[in-house]
């Protein structure tokens, strides 16, 4: 874009980096016969009973705006679900806000709490939109390193090391896209203590919680002093295979919910009513489908992790999510070169780790939300690629 055109674009938008995923997507889209392990969404279609509920809602003529906060029936279901599965208590009347996906929830949460220049601690590597969303809210991102040595779990020590004066918010995604990393209970407890000590607000994105294979999923909000300073974010995209519906929610004490609601009501008004009706069905009757999908992911995880290690790409076994994050440094290539050459030479797409932050160098993200036959073939191709490099 020329300087003359840029005169209309806001400075902080000009400064935003292009998503590394987008570049990579364009490369892949131009090719044929690619097996993609680069897709950050379930391969399952939304369970039929949920889709059917949405069709029924349309038949009944449910096509209008809902309350800014979202349908009260849905908020009640969310409140019950979050209480039951996360041990967090929120009042459906004023502590639950239904959003257009967790992405919107993240955006309005940050916009509601940040003053220009406020600092946000966030784990790295992390979901691609975290840092840009902070920048769009005129905040300043401060990365917390997670690494392969500790299976990309979030360590209290690293949080403390990264903290600097002016850090107002701690933004975490556990389990984590792209690394599959989680945090052990004692680490999380320590991080919670630190958040209280430094008087930080914690925004906790737990979208992959349902895809926890081993051990328990622990929410940071359960620890002493955390309820008042935690915004819990969750949604339907991953657990219920509902990415395209764009349905998420934020739960937080009333004063925080009210602040987020202000931003939400003037920008989004409300989430789609059809999606909200589908969400009610998902929470009422979706547990079995979620479990079935989780079991399928778990088996695929075991397969890809075993194959990566056989191939010589060291890979920790992620406790959660449908992502493996193998180390590719043994090939002598950097992440971007590895991904590009693998794509060109063997037609397998995996997103370079650097798309998810500077600490992603040396890794690639492998999404195993795809069929067995595709995974088996992709691993064979990767093996051939790696062997040819030797």
């Amino acid at each position: 874009m020329s300087q003359a055109q840029n005169r209309f674009i806001a400075d902080h938008v000009i400064g935003l980096p292009r998503s590394g995923i987008r570049d990579f997507f364009e490369l892949v889209a131009a090719m044929k016969d690619v097996i993609s392990l680069g897709i950050g969404e379930p391969d399952f279609t939304t369970p039929w009973h949920i889709r059917e509920a949405a069709i029924y809602a349309l038949e009944k003529g449910r096509t209008h705006y809902t309350s800014n906060l979202g349908l009260i029936e849905l908020r009640r279901e969310i409140s019950a679900y979050v209480g039951r599965n996360f041990g967090l208590e929120y009042n459906p009347n004023n502590e639950v806000l239904v959003t257009v996906g967790v992405s919107e929830a993240m955006d309005i949460a940050l916009r509601a709490v940040l003053n220009p220049g406020d600092k946000v601690l966030y784990q790295d590597p992390c979901f691609v939109s975290y840092h840009p969303t902070v920048l769009l809210a005129h905040g300043v991102g401060v990365a917390i390193k997670t690494d392969a040595e500790s299976a990309f779990t979030l360590k209290a020590e690293e949080v403390k090391k990264s903290w600097e004066p002016g850090c107002k918010v701690l933004l975490i995604n556990l389990p984590c896209n792209p690394t599959g990393g989680v945090a052990e209970r004692k680490e999380l407890e320590e991080i919670a203590k630190f958040a209280v000590e430094k008087d930080m607000l914690v925004i906790s994105d737990e979208i992959y919680a349902e895809m926890t294979y081993e051990g328990e999923h622990v929410s940071i909000g359960i620890f002493p002093g955390m309820r008042e300073r935690t915004i819990f974010l969750h949604g339907f995209s991953k657990g219920w295979a509902m990415t395209g519906w764009r349905l998420g929610y934020a739960c937080a004490p009333a004063y925080l919910t009210e602040a987020m609601m202000k931003v939400h009501q003037y920008s989004m008004m409300c989430a789609s009513i059809v999606a909200q009706d589908a969400g009610i069905e998902a929470l009422r009757n979706g547990d079995e489908a979620v479990k079935t999908m989780r079991q399928a992911y778990q088996r695929r995880r075991d397969l890809v992790v075993r194959r990566f290690n056989e191939i010589g790409l060291t890979c920790h076994k992620p406790n959660a999510t449908f992502y493996a994050f193998p180390n590719i440094t043994s090939t002598g290539l950097d992440s971007t070169t590895f991904s590009k050459r693998l794509l060109e030479e063997e037609r397998v797409a995996m997103v370079p780790g650097t798309a998810f932050g500077k600490y992603g160098e040396g890794f690639v993200r492998c999404s195993f939300a795809t069929g067995y036959d595709q995974i088996v073939e992709a691993c064979n191709r990767i093996e051939r690629f790696v062997n040819n490099l030797k």
């Binding site: 995923i21 950050g40 969404e41 391969d43 399928a296 997103v351």
Partner: protein, 160 residues
């Protein structure tokens, strides 16, 4: 239950070497687990699921409600087992409600199914009555949807 069984229960169409690859077992180990499933009669066997709308050998199928008289020893078992042995009988279940056995019969023509019912089934001593319902069209067979628009599962090639 063993790992092979769990994998089969997911409904994927996999051969033994694919199952071995997925489960991280040798083909021999997969075979051994399959053998156990067969030995326990948990896995009865393999049959292809054919589309009744296209498979001529299934030109006619009927669900037959059969009333039979129970016997002093064994109740309905002897008669049900006897009926089940006919090749024409695809499945046979003891039911609660207004009749005793639900017998699904297949044949290449209406005539063949009709004569099976009138000449073989009805004439068995102990069979009190039959009511034959011919199937007109299949919409779902053994879990497979039939002639419904395919789901558009197109995902973008790469997403965050």
């Amino acid at each position: 239950m063993n790992e092979v069984f769990k994998l089969l229960a997911e409904g994927e169409r996999l051969n033994e070497s694919q199952m071995a690859e997925i489960l991280g077992l040798s083909v021999e180990e997969v075979e051994a687990q399959l053998a156990v499933l067969k030995e326990k009669e948990l896995l009865l066997g393999w049959i292809p699921v054919l589309n009744p709308e296209k498979d001529d050998s299934l030109a006619v199928r009927a669900a037959i409600e059969v009333k039979i008289s129970p016997e002093r020893d064994g109740g309905f078992n002897r008669l049900a087992q006897r009926i089940s042995r006919f090749d024409e009988v695809e499945s046979c279940y003891l039911m609660s409600g207004g009749y005793d056995l639900l017998v699904v019969v297949k044949g290449s023509s209406l005539h063949k199914v009709a004569s099976f019912v009138s000449e073989r089934l009805s004439t068995i001593e102990g069979v009190l009555s039959t009511a034959t319902h011919f199937m007109l069209r299949a919409y779902k067979e053994q879990g497979y949807l039939i002639e419904q628009p395919a789901e558009d599962k197109a995902r973008l090639d790469v997403t965050p």
